[in-house]
């Protein structure tokens, strides 16, 4: 938009453009900044709600300088739930499921992008098709299947549906398709096989996509609710969304504690995001694509 067009243009025009470049940049920044404020709003609201005494919660309009603000809700969160146990469960299940998905999805994505075989398109369609069935009708047959395997109420059953992710296969396939084939070909000339190309050429080049998918994979596991609800019985396997749901009683709900729980539950994903984002930028810098 506002950038100088190139060295071939006349001096005069370039300087006019340069004159406009700064205000434009400022305007752009203002737009992005204002938008960012609008994005921060719900989070600020959730934090405020979580430190507001119960009876003032959700007053309309909300009070952004609530009197008697306290961390009481966080205290009750720790009191009503075996909180750290639950967070630990969610964290390691999330980590396990993300690791498994990254491995299985990247491998399949490589096959779909780089290894032609008869029926490849059809098989890819089957993968995609697994995303199209609404979860509420799958959980009952899946539960019955798990029952047949005698896996009800186990960590494995909790993880099972997240070992493979068609979403991940699709995302990573698109990323691999963007990697110029010349790179593989160079490796082939060096005598590399598919595993080496996959590990040393393709994977490093799609690190932004891998990092992105890691966030989504973790998020999906971290927030998943319906399946854990159904397959888990023992309190010691409880995950965070299940724990937070227990704050909704038959007749009443403690909204400030729910909000406190929601605030806390965002933190690990935020950390992961910050970590992964760094990775995204760093990998582009190294990849030689620059």
């Amino acid at each position: 938009m506002g950038e100088p067009r190139g060295r071939i243009r006349s001096e005069a025009r370039t300087s006019t453009r340069a004159l406009w470049a700064k205000p434009r940049r400022m305007a752009r920044y203002a737009v992005v900044g204002l938008g960012a404020l609008a994005m921060l709003f719900p989070f600020a609201w959730a934090v405020i709600t979580s430190i507001t005494p119960s009876d003032a919660v959700l007053s309309v309009p909300p009070d952004f300088t609530p009197e008697g603000a306290s961390l009481d809700a966080y205290g009750r969160l720790l009191e009503t739930l075996p909180f750290w146990r639950i967070v630990l469960n969610s964290a390691w299940i999330g980590a396990a499921s993300t690791t498994l998905q990254l491995v299985t999805s990247a491998m399949a994505a490589y096959a779909f992008a780089r290894l032609p075989f008869p029926g490849r398109g059809a098989l890819f369609a089957v993968y995609l098709a697994t995303l199209m069935m609404p979860l509420p009708v799958l959980v009952v047959p899946l539960f019955i299947e798990m029952r047949a395997f005698n896996l009800v109420d186990t960590y494995f059953a909790l993880l099972a549906p997240t070992i493979a992710s068609a979403f991940g296969v699709f995302l990573l396939r698109q990323a691999i398709n963007q990697v110029p084939r010349e790179f593989d070909e160079a490796a082939v000339l060096d005598g590399a096989g598919h595993f080496r190309i996959f590990l040393y050429v393709v994977l490093p080049l799609i690190r932004p996509a891998l990092a992105t998918f890691a966030i989504f994979g973790f998020m999906a596991s971290w927030n998943s609710y319906l399946w854990p609800l159904i397959i888990i019985k023992s309190p010691e396997f409880m995950t965070l969304p299940l724990g937070l749901a227990t704050l909704h009683g038959q007749f009443t709900t403690q909204w400030d504690v729910v909000m406190a729980g929601s605030v806390v539950s965002v933190v690990p994903i935020l950390i992961l995001y910050v970590f992964a984002q760094k990775h995204v930028i760093a990998s582009v810098a190294q990849s030689g694509l620059k």
């Binding site: 900044g33 009708v137 070909e185 965002v266």
Partner: protein, 313 residues
């Protein structure tokens, strides 16, 4: 002749034949393919495809989950196709997609392009835009209900300042779906942004620079370099957003519960109610298969159509 081909050092088109590590065909090659595919294929078959078959079997029965299944053949399908509630649910879902998809894609694209430029605190800004994506729908939905509160929400207050009397938003059957669309697009902007950003970063800078030297305007560079090279990411975003859009559920459940007066009852709300609240798992499964057929059709059309506009490296 497209501008892209006219560029001095446009990326070379993929050659027709590639050097390959092993020749195609043969057991060894088949083994390699299998090795790459099985880690995902086995769990998908076990934990998604088999339950899908199970749900198809269920769809041929009347079943409340707590008594024995009763065979009804295609009865559930026949009943659903003639049912005005089903038709309404599909229409509401399509309405949602028609509003949501353009908003979230164009918004996400704009953000990705803006935030791909160098600017102060860029990483922080990206993080902020991503925040709604990772915030739970409970928080987001409650907040939007409050923003769009017809009596005392900020939005109607602001509209009042410029002399517009705001609508009843999600309490008004005509405005309830737009309210949900708005909240959903707002929440998912960051998702589209992060996917497109990853795509943008994969575009070699030489192409842009070459075009600049060539004197192409910013718009032409965007239109003829950025967009085509971003097309695999765009394709992904559109396909996934459509698949997810057809299954819109959480936000509806929390914001309106399908109301007011059923104006936002979408297909998956219907499926959930039928399975777990109304004891009609058979009908719910049949409805899921109808939805599945529709989503599959739409996705196949997109996959067929992608050859016309999606450019791979």
């Amino acid at each position: 002749m497209s501008v892209r081909e006219a560029l001095p050092d446009a990326p070379p088109r993929a050659p027709v034949t590639h050097a390959r590590p092993k020749r195609r065909g043969g057991w060894r090659y088949a083994g390699t393919v299998a090795l790459f595919l099985l880690p995902s294929l086995v769990p998908l078959v076990l934990y998604t495809l088999i339950p899908m078959v199970g749900s198809f079997w269920t769809s041929l029965h009347e079943w409340d989950l707590i008594t024995e299944m009763r065979w009804v053949g295609l009865g559930n399908y026949v009943e659903l196709i003639g049912d005005p509630d089903t038709r309404a649910a599909f229409l509401h879902t399509l309405y949602f997609i028609a509003g949501y998809l353009p908003l979230v894609y164009l918004g996400g694209l704009g953000l990705a392009v803006l935030l791909n430029r160098a600017m102060p605190a860029r990483g922080l800004l990206r993080g902020v835009y991503f925040l709604p994506v990772i915030t739970s729908w409970v928080v987001v939905a409650l907040m939007w209900k409050w923003l769009l509160n017809p009596a005392s929400g900020i939005v109607n207050w602001a509209l009042g300042l410029v002399g517009v009397s705001g609508p009843g938003w999600w309490t008004d059957p005509d405005w309830a779906m737009p309210s949900i669309i708005l909240a959903s697009a707002w929440k998912d902007l960051g998702f589209v942004m992060i996917i497109l950003l990853a795509g943008l970063q994969a575009i070699p800078r030489e192409y842009q620079e070459a075009a600049m030297v060539d004197g192409a305007t910013a718009w032409r560079r965007f239109r003829h370099i950025t967009l085509p090279l971003l097309s695999p990411s765009t394709f992904f975003v559109v396909v996934i957003s459509l698949i997810n859009g057809f299954q819109v559920f959480d936000q509806v459940q929390i914001m309106t519960g399908g109301g007011p007066g059923g104006a936002t009852q979408v297909v998956v709300s219907q499926i959930y109610d039928l399975t777990f609240r109304y004891g009609r798992a058979g009908a719910a499964s049949a409805l899921s298969w109808l939805l599945f057929a529709l989503v599959l059709l739409v996705t196949i059309v997109q996959i067929r159509g992608q050859r016309r506009w999606v450019t791979y490296g």
